[in-house]
Symmetry: C3
């Protein structure tokens, strides 16, 4: 069966110790070759795992992993045969190893093995491609679009007129981009929709009048956007996704939304029109933010949170209507206590 992602190299346990500043247990092999990552329970002799949580401690004794990055408190339990790499930060070390083994997996690559420009792609005569652009089959690049060096445009992607895409980006298959400026090193997964009209109407008793949406989408450097997410262009101010922000699949970002730098927004979250989000904010899955609200820098909204008022910087909110997470937990606990009391007082024994 195909592996798809093949390591670009292998690392010895000694090289891994050096890379991660982990301490290899005395007597463990320095030259054992490692070429993949895996969890303890499924790892084999050429795989490296990590252990930083007592939940998985039970898997340690029986693991077949070749090496394990391990927290000091668990190190004594590491079985013989395993190359034990002790470090106070096993998970970041594990990620560092993964990134060293699979540098090519850090950015999507051509699904057709294309190098340069596929003959079947439709590139407008006025589009400008820098050197080293890869255009997969059947992509469409509109008039006056500009694509930076090293960028990949996936199969069937459609880039509208005047769109600018920076360097070293990966635009997935079947993506559509219009009225947008995209920075460098941006990853956009398949099926993402950027820059279409937002949902703006003047309601009326004989029907709803469409309001022209005249602004753009600005995607800053190092943003990643998940599959089938939709980001509408601005109506009266640009929709902006700040540098380094990561957005998951099937997220809805309405017109005029401004998201700061290095935010994390999980799957199926929706931001209504004109929401402003500060830097380093985090939203769990299926969060909803009502229109015109402000989410402060560093705020965290728990999965499913339905936010109906401004969230202060650094706050941790959850629930619906969302409030401080401790309040929400108290609400849940209070209601459950009332139910239990009610059943007791009724003598229910169900």
């Amino acid at each position: 069966m195909p592996d798809f992602v093949r390591p670009n190299r292998e690392l010895t346990t000694g090289e891994i110790a050096a890379l991660t500043r982990a301490a290899l247990r005395e007597g463990d092999p320095v030259d054992r070759p490692i070429c993949n990552i895996a969890p303890l329970d499924t790892a084999g002799a050429a795989d490296i795992s990590f252990l930083d949580n007592s939940k998985y401690l039970g898997e340690l004794a029986g693991t077949r992993a070749g090496a394990c990055l391990i927290a000091p408190r668990f190190a004594a339990a590491a079985p013989r045969g395993l190359a034990a790499l002790e470090t106070p930060h096993p998970y970041p070390a594990f990620v560092a190893v993964a990134r060293a083994l699979f540098p090519a997996a850090l950015r999507p690559s051509s699904l057709f093995g294309t190098s340069g420009r596929a003959m079947s792609a439709q590139v407008h005569a006025t589009a400008r491609l820098e050197a080293g652009v890869t255009i997969d089959p059947l992509a469409v690049i509109g008039p006056h679009a500009e694509i930076g060096a090293g960028t990949l445009i996936g199969a069937g992607a459609v880039i509208g007129p005047d769109v600018r895409i920076g360097r070293e980006c990966a635009i997935g298959a079947g993506v559509t981009i219009q009225q947008a400026l995209i920075g460098d090193r941006v990853i956009i997964h398949p099926g993402v929709r950027i820059g279409q009209d937002g949902f703006g109407y003047l309601p009326g008793p004989r029907g709803h009048q469409k309001i022209p949406q005249t602004r753009r989408v600005i995607i800053q450097d190092d943003v990643e956007i998940g599959a089938n997410t939709a980001i509408d262009r601005g109506a009266t101010r640009d929709t902006v996704i700040g540098e380094g922000t990561k957005i998951d699949n099937l997220v809805h970002i309405a017109h005029n939304v401004m998201i700061g730098r290095h935010c994390l927004i999980a799957g199926q979250t929706g931001l209504a029109g004109s929401v402003t989000v500060g830097d380093f904010a985090i939203m769990g899955g299926q969060v909803g933010i009502s229109d015109h609200l402000t989410i402060g820098a560093g705020a965290m909204i728990g999965a499913r949170g339905g936010v109906m008022s401004n969230v202060p910087a650094g706050a941790r909110w959850a629930g619906y209507p969302a409030g401080p997470i401790l309040d929400w937990k108290r609400e849940v606990a209070t209601l459950r206590r009332l139910v239990r009391r009610g059943r007791k007082s009724e003598g229910t024994s169900e």
Copy 2:
């Protein structure tokens, strides 16, 4: 940087006064050229803003806007230099100006600058296109499909056999349409899926049997459908989207759903099978409606509402399970009061 949406014309402040029946303040210039719309805080000398909400009154004094449509109660505060256009309805007037400046932005246009039929589009020999149809590159039009005059089929869109699309429609890039009849002036944004099989199975202990979905999707005139929304075809009755209804991004509309005229359905809402929605109903974002329910004409479901019973015409509901919005607010308030009491009685001082 490109502006993408360029005004088709400019309007003088005098023309705007005439168009909107606003009263230009005495002494303000009649011939100031306006060519774009903007909010007060970012507007420049050729932009028009509006003010109808005291929340934004603070921005009035410092605005650099060339003109402002302004409610009578704020008119006295308009600074010199601004062309103040007094009107009891600033926002509708602002929309009217936007529509007059940007008539071409009221309907999506070709992303490739195509006029007529792109050579690379695959149009079946038996498809019938009226005059003035635009087919962008790499679109696919199936056998016996019919496309009305003035309609745009976007790049990579796929139109299945026998589908009929009316006049002056805009079908976005990468859209797929099958087993559907589409009216006139319909706008379908990129990535929308129309007419695929609904989710219908006869469950069983050895697996679930697929039930043929034999009906169609009917999209009436002047409907707009947001990016990546999915509308399944009917199983035993047609799925219908009524005239003038507007649907946002990532909405899920299951088989047999019948939506009336001039409804507004915000992002990520889901309507389960066989739901019926009356005319002019409104749903906020992330609403869910259980199968076989009826939402009465003019009903409003607040964002996140989870509807598990029929909603009377004209009702305003919210919450989950949804009920009258006042009841829901009382539930939220009651629970929060109980939490506060509980903490007092425990002497908590956190």
Copy 3:
């Protein structure tokens, strides 16, 4: 107007009685031709309906249906003229008739009437297609991909390198598949995204480091996946969709998720990373499951359920945070009772 789905044959009422083991009422015609299915209220003379619910009993007297599969308790009410087919299981019988009338509707077919491989499709020289594969226009098949006999690849679909797709599958228009192995008889509706990178980062104060996602997506036999659903490939273990599982539109399935056999997952549901779901589990629409949880075999999660802890096998849960459905109903009822009491004690008469 086109019917799109045309019955492949017609059945007489006698043949239907034989097929479903229903008892045709004495004196009713054995040779009446039936060629379509319809609900009682819209059925015509060549249509068959079913009745197993007193909710629809009122429609029986006035129906124009040619035949009706009917539960014994309603049989006496069947009007003359209708061919009444008495059976203890009207709905399964109705489904059996639908499947017999419309065998071709059990699997999507080419939207271009393609037979064989469309000239405009881009098939890599190293891809291997078995006999009887249909490739619609403008599909893209990457290097070393393998497609089994009888499979349809829809217009504009993109199949990445080394992907394997089994026999008798239907891959919809505009689908993208990468790093995945697909079984036999799998149906994937338009716009589905399979195998892209999951949402995995090591968060940090200077930005979030992307974690390579090195595993695959495995889709077993007889799975069906709804329009615009996204399924990420595994990070450290394969993402797996078990045999016979049916997934609706706009569902989000994150990396490392393992779903068992014959599950049903309704629209807009989201499963966070590393969730494990047992066989025959059922999830309503807009359900959310937090990461690393286990949903036991046969468990049912009601629509909108937000699951934050493991769900035992066979349990029926709902609410948010989800718990046993009876508990959730009690919570809702308790809160509503408290609101009513509060209003009484305040003498409110609103």
